[in-house]
Structures are given as C-alpha cells and as structure tokens.
Amino acid sequence: MAHHKHATPNFRNLIVRPMWMTLKTALRTFPIIGRSKWLQSHGGGKPYHGQVIDPMTEAEREMYTEQAHPSVGHTYSPDRATTDVHPNFERPVTVMYPYERLEDMEPWLFVPGNYNGRIGVIWETCTACKACVRICPNACLHMETETRVNVLDLAEEGDENHGHGVALEVGGQAARRIEGSEEAAAEFQLSTAHEAPPEEYEFGEVIDLSGDTVSVRWNASGTTEEVASSDLLGAEVDIVSGRIDIGRCMFCGLCMESCPFNSFFMTNEYDGMSTHTREDLWYEADRTRVLPVQHAEAVDRELAKRAEQARKKAERAAAKAAKSPKTEA
C-alpha cells in the first residue's frame, strides 16, 4: 500500500501544492469560471458534482409510477448542485434551511415509509393491543385502555346493524349486565353527580365456549363461573387515550414495525417538535396526526382488511355450523 507519490516534505509541497488546491476550490464557487474544465475534480477533469442523471431508470419508471415515487421528475447529481435561492454562488453544498428545504430538493431522502420523522398515529384503527407499548425501548408510549361493550351489540333484534357486534370467543372479553344498573344509569346526572357513574356491566375473560353454557373468569373477583351464553354480551378492550413522550422518543421506528394493524406511521416531519417545557413534549392524540390523505388511505385499508377478516370468519363459522350438524346426525 504505497505512500502518496508526492508525499515528500520539499519546497514544492510547502506552499505550492496545498495553496493551488484551495485556490481551485475557491474558484469553483464563482458562477462562470467555476464551470471551466480545468477546475473540475482534482486531476480528473470530470464534472465536480458528478454526472447529472435522471433518478428513475426506464425500468423503474413504469414499475413504480402507480406509487408515484417522490423522485419522479427530479434530476439527480451526487453532490447537491442546484439552488434557486442563491444564484450568484455556483455550487452550494449547504442547504440554507429556512429558505430551502431538503425534502423539496432531494425527495428520495424523505420517502414516506423510509424516513423516521415525527410519529403519526391513526387512533381510529388502533385496537389497544399494546404491541407498540411493549416494543418501545425507552417506554415513551403510554396508553389508557378500558373494557367496554361494543355499541353495535346493544342493537335490538330488528335493528339493521344487529349481529355485527363482537362475538364471544375463547380468550376474548364477555360482559354481563349488573342487576338494577339500568335504572341507576338512567337517573344518573353526570353534570351534578359527585361520584363516578355506576358500573353497568361486569366483565370477565371467556375460558371456554363448549356447549351452551360459557365459563367466564370475572376480572373483578377472579372467580370462574358458568354463565348461560344468552345473557352475556361480547366486549372488547378499547383505547381511551394515548400519549407519546417525544422527549424520550429516539425515533427508532420499532413501534411502526411492531403495529399489526399499521395504524402507526413515522411521518417525514423533522422540525416543529420543540417546546419550552418537558410537559409539552407529551404528545396527545391531537399532535400525532398523519397527513389527511395518508390518514384516509390507512383507515380505508384497515377497515377493508377487517371486513375481509370478519367475512372470512363468518364463512368459517357457517362452514363449521354446516359441517357439525352432519356429525350430530
């Protein structure tokens, strides 16, 4: 591994060579003379920013048009060559931040899925499975959940959304109405009351569903009990509120990967997260929004997926029901 050819301490290297190199660098920054050939990359005569290329090859252009990859229509040079903010400077490397934004100049660095910016959450499709709370290394995700009866279950027989509620399943939650809780709930005045609203249901985890009775272990007392499935309603754990401590978050992206319902996104927003106090760094649902387009897209995708799962489950249940009478008969 040879030394550099001219690396000998002589008069030539004392001033001539280093000063010639800095002069070339300085002359390159002036608009007209900066482009002349002999100033280009040291000893190579090649353009100083490297070849300006179209970022999308032909093959890529048709393949990725439908995702409208952000670098469509941009020219690309390895070292930033263009600026419209400062015309009388030939080749600026520095991005003059407030006046030029890197995501406008080099969009391929901020492809929505790839860049770990501020966290964006679709709270509507979150099913409070707490996968993200468990995966976060710095424990900055906090979530309050509550076991509730799904409102669709309360629809009476004739109602058009009857039967769409949560079905009882092993390991899921079940709810039983507490006697007399209906009247208590009716005359409870939230605005004037001094105590919490009365509990309407008691919730328990379903142990097994064989036959008509259901064995449930009540969350409150922990005792298991055999209950007729008729007076049980399906229940689910719902998210009440969630917050992210941006002060602790290191933007590693593990929560985005661990969320099974892709309601967790890392937006490509990197500024605007500073506050004056640490309390303000606790981002509630309002400050962890995602762009409306992305939000709508994600919600539709998720609902379509769940509808698909519900339909498949209904088919499986129907098939099982169709199959089981044969065995009985």
């Binding site: 030539r12 800095t22 920054t29 903010v85």
Partner: protein
Amino acid sequence: MATDDILDVRGWVRIGMDSVAENTVGMSRHWEYTDGVAWFLTEFVMTIVIFGGIMSTLFVLLWMERKLLGRFMDRRGAVTSLRSLWVGEGGVTAGEWWNQLPFGTGVPIGMLNRTLNKVAGNDHELEAVSRVKNRSYHGVWWMLPGFFQNLADGMKFMTKEHMVPEKADRFVYEVAPFMIIATTVMCFTFIPLGPQIYSNDSELSILFLMAIFSIAPLGVFFAGWSSNNKYTLLGGIRSAAQLTAYEIPLLIVVLSVVVLSGSFNMIEVIEFQADSGVWNIFLLPLGGLLFMVTMVAEVERIPFDMPEAEAELVEGWWTEYGGMRWGLMFSAEYLRTYVACLLFAHFFLGGWEAPFEDTIPFISMVPHVVWVFLKSWFIFIFFVWLRASLHRVRTDQILEFGWRWLLPLSLVNLAMATALRLWVYDGINGEWPILVPILITSIGLALFILLAIDEDPAAIEANTRPYSVQTTDVASPGQHRE
C-alpha cells in the same frame, strides 16, 4: 516634496485651520500664536482623518477574511445583509423604539423604517424565501451581504461582561490589552495613506514605526502571564519566543529596503520608488518573500499560529479575556495585519504610485489613496489564502526555521540591497538601468519555479520516506510507570 495629488487633504485642512486660527486666536491678544494653533489643529484633524480612514477600511479586511475563507472552504461565509437593520419577522419594528426618543426626534427614523420596509421589505419573488419572510438573509451582491456582520459582532463585544480571573495579577491583567491596542494604533501615525494624507512626516518615521510595532509582544506576554491560567502562560511564552525569533529578520529586511531607498522617511521611500520608476519588489524579490513570511509570524496567523493554537491551548493568551477587551485585542490583531499589508504595499509595491503611472494617460486622475488601499487589500488576500491552506507548525519547528533559515536569508537580502544601491544606483548617477529589475525578477521567478517543480525522483520511485526525523529518544510506552 510629495507628488501632487488632486486629493490634497492636508492642504485643504491647513487652509481651513489657518482661517479658524485667524478668526479666533488671531483676533485676541495672543495673536502671535496663530501659526502654532493652526499647525496644531491641522495635525489633530489629519490624525483623525487617518484614524477614520483606517478604522472604516478595517471592516473591508474583516469582511474579506470571512468571505474568502468561506470560499476556500467551499462555503459562503457570513451572508446577513444590511436589510437586517430594518427588516424583522414580518416587518416587525422592534417595539418602535424610536418613539421613546425625546422631542419627537424619533419620528423621521420611524418614517425611514417604514419606507425601507416597503421598498426592500420581507417579501421576495422566490416562494421559498418569502414563505419564511426573508429575514435579510437573501442579500443581493451589491448590498455586500455579510459586511455588517463584523460590525454587529464588534458591537456585541461591548455588551459582554468583563470578568477578571480570581487570582489574576489584577494590574498587569488590566494594563496588558491597552498596551497591545495602544501601540498597534500608534503605528498608523507613521503610515501615509496618500501623498498629502499623512499624520506625521518625520525624518526617521520607519524607525519609530518598527520600534512601536515591536512593543505589542511585551503586552502579549503580560496578558499570558497575568491571567493565572496554565494554558495562557504557555501561550504567552510561546508568543514571546516566536516574536523575538522573527523580529530580527523582519528588521533586517526593513533595513535592506531603507538602504535601497536611501532614507528612513516612509514618504521618501515611496518617492524613491516613484522617481526611479521601479518598485522595490522587482529589485528585492527575496526581501518581499521574507517580509511576508516574517510578518505572518509577527501577527501570529495560521502557519505560525502556535501562541493561539486551538488544538491544545484553546485560545492561547486570549483565553481569560472577555467583553470589549477581547474585542479590542481581536481587532488589534487585525490592525497589526493591516499594518503588515500597508507596509508591504509601501516598501515593495510603490505605495500610492499607480502601476504604470506615467504611461497610461488618465491614471493620475484616480486619487492615490485608492491605490494604497487596493494594494494592501491585495496583499491581505495572500494572508487569508495562507490561512486557508496551511497547517500549524510546531513551536520548536518555528523557532528553528526562524533562526536557521530566515536570519541568513535576510542577511543575504541586505547584502543584495547594499550592492544594488552602491554599485548600480549610485554608480550610474541616480537611476536604474531598465535591465537590472528585469534581470533580478526573472532570476527570482526562475529560482521559484525551479524549486516548485523539484521532485525527488529517487524518493518517488523508492516510495520511502526520506525525511530524517529528529525525535527526542522516546521512552518506550509503559516505561515511565516502573
């Protein structure tokens, strides 16, 4: 005596002061002192003129340093433009401070601010710039973006607190900066800016100048010692050693110029170059090179930057100073660089004489002070270029280079000067045969180019490192423990 110049500042001032003296002292019973008073007032006004000229053009030097250094480093340098004086976030007017001024004197300022905001306000045709309300960053080139950044930095130092280190030697600590600053500013009395723009035209002005110029190192050493900080002590000692090592070759080179020009008076040196039609650089190229190198060491700029070496001494002897003392010392360093550039221009580039004074017809229309400033700023480019491209030399290497190389070369230069003066100039009744400068310059250039392309073919081919490195016998690591 000095060449006549359309900008005869001293003449106008003298006339003005004569009339002032006559109308005041002349009328009174001390009328015989009128001439004395007029003389004193002229000298006083001329000193102020020189001081004003230097201090305002100092900002050009600072601005060139930042922008050129930026360009050498492939970036822009300071870009805040003058617009920032009246432009704020969305035309904010800084609380309309002018309304607090008494007797409504603030009103015109307010009006001026509003018109300027309307004329050259925040909006800009570029969408990205106007979105963030162009806070005076986007300056056009003729608004000299970045020029007033140094003014703002300078004023910032006035607001900084002056803290004296706890166990510092209080008196010496306070005296040192003023010694440096006072002597540096006094140098400008002896430097003429033009044929009729000088504050002092004494017979031995170069001698005085060099004497005052070399007092500052003493102040540097006082500052280093008195700040009660080991690093500044080291910086002070290094700077004392370096400046003494480079004072002697500098004085010898100046002596060679004086010998060549025949007088100690700065203006006569320049007149000599003007009359004989040959600049000294073409007669003493070696002298010019030596002067440049020793001046870089005198003002402690990069290749000889040890006293203020960032890497190990943090800020060298400046570390413990804050506030305006540090600001003044910082500007004193640039004033000393400005003295160096002006001296190089006067000694070697013919002071205020235009490049082809008598041949180009209308060149004498341009006032001579312009040439003085242009030449000194051109020399300053070399100072910045050296700073951008060279590394810092170690202290012992500086001293060794100073004593072993510069001193003998400056003696050679002195011998050349005397030979040229006695045999060539005086021999042929007082003017240079045209062949002499051409011959000397071409020999100098040839020598420089020869050295510049010299390569050690054996070293390249054998790819070894010929440099015999003198190292103190290094204790093998771990040895000192036992």
